[in-house]
Subunit: 260 residues, 2 copies
DNA sequence: CAGTGGTCTAGACCACACT
DNA sequence: GTGTGGTCTAGACCACTGC
């Protein structure tokens, strides 16, 4: 039953060969074990994980040590604590903070009141990864990927035009209908349909001018300045699982960022 | 000497009039007391604060409670812990993460290797706040403000053109020479010269086209897409102390953002 | 009521920095 | 060595949720 305790004092007790800078506190090791269970699918998004006391017993450590491990995982948005109820695996589905990665907000009006965007899927096809797509997704050039092109509109106004690239292996059988028909965030659909949970992302933002095709799709004049947002999203263990290149209209919306 | 202990059980013991949802854990109260000392200037940026044991004695609580308060302040980048040395008030000066609020990075080359920007101050004048500037700074229209216009260049290439508005009261006597001559981040200069420490900020980002004047200053063609970055920076207690409107060239640099 | 997370304490020991 | 933050433990009690 119980996993090996792995006390910190075990570090380098024997065989301290060569470069062994490794030292990790117990709670970090516990954090790693919990992470493994998350990756392995022992607890799925939305489900509750065992109580702190249970985990403490399972790992043969004190509750406080488990607590600190969970604290960090909660700070990274991998887990969500709810007093009196338990600790849950974070999800893009019923999270009250839906569309957590979408930072585009309307200039006026209360944020969040605009509801979900209207999606139009223009294209959804399988192809071989180009060099830059392969690099972003840690694949080899020519590996299978799925490409999706779509627009998002708010209140009937097309506002976002984006391309998504997904590893073909993990997203076998993704269809236009799935992309368009699912109610809720796309990342929630990825969790349900493909067991892929996006944990964090990095974005590179630039200002560009709309070309003819882009201008038509976004219903703006050619040459209109647009926000170019290139995103790489990662699952557990920093494995890249999505490359996304978006163009945002910023005449009625803006990209909001908090610095701290 | 010792401040009032203020145990949690004191909450609402008497006079629980009307809406009193207030309940804060002891460590939150301690956090508030430490925050007051920071605001009051008892410990200045770069200095060390008393040890956890000292603070525990001063506030009549256990070390663990002080620890949790400091943990949160450190997570908010107000304090910096250094094992074996002490806990220090964060500063924009000798922080290894200088230019913490500047998210523009070069497309190629290791981040941080580009060194500080070359500053050119174009203007530095006192005037009365317009309506929108007043609103952003929580002033009244017509209150005195200082406006600074400058460019930042990297490797000789002008890359940022920005206007700063600062409350006239807090920044009496700010000169062009100070803005241009100080070695290190502008926010570090604000700490040293005016005792104003910027703690967090919010940015609104858009894509815009360069007008004639802007194009000249940034050495680009008129109509070139630029990143428009409007920032409001806050001191302690969410008091806004700076409005900044910047235009970034994004042909050789990009705005980098991490989502988590 | 029982079970969960949240707070607080007190004490022991470890890792690191300075002197 | 002394003092600092960092880790770990064990136990007590509080606050919230749902039966």
């Amino acid at each position: 039953m119980a996993s090996s305790p792995a006390f910190q004092t075990d570090n380098g007790s024997a065989a301290m060969d060569a470069a062994t800078p490794a030292f990790s506190p117990l709670y970090q090791q516990i954090k790693g074990l919990i992470l493994q269970s998350l990756q392995g699918g022992e607890w799925k998004p939305g489900e509750s994980i065992p109580s702190e006391m249970d985990l403490a017993a399972r790992f043969r450590v004190s509750q406080g040590t488990v607590r600190k491990a969970i604290d960090e995982l909660a700070a990274e948005n991998l887990l969500v604590r709810r007093q009196g109820k338990g600790t849950f695996v974070a999800t893009h589905s019923e999270q009250h903070v839906q569309y957590r990665f979408l930072k585009l907000v309307p200039d006026i009006g209360d944020q969040g009141s605009e509801g979900p965007a209207e999606r139009s899927v223009l294209e959804c096809k399988r192809l071989r990864a180009s060099a830059d797509v392969a690099r972003a997704l840690a694949l080899r050039s020519g590996d299978a990927v799925v490409q999706v092109r779509r627009t998002l509109a708010f209140g009937g106004m097309p506002t976002i035009l984006e391309d998504l690239w997904l590893p073909g292996n993990a997203f076998k059988g993704l269809t236009s209908e799935q992309m368009a028909g699912y109610h809720g965030p796309t990342y929630a659909m990825f969790e349900v349909e493909f067991g892929v949970r996006m944990v964090r992302a990095e974005e590179k933002i630039r200002a560009v001018a709309a070309d003819a095709a882009q201008a038509t799709l976004l219903q703006v004049a050619q040459g209109t300045p647009l926000l170019s947002v290139e995103r790489v999203a990662y699952t557990y263990n920093d494995v890249p699982m999505e490359l996304r290149r978006g163009l945002y209209r910023t005449d009625t919306h803006h990209y909001r960022n908090a610095l701290s």
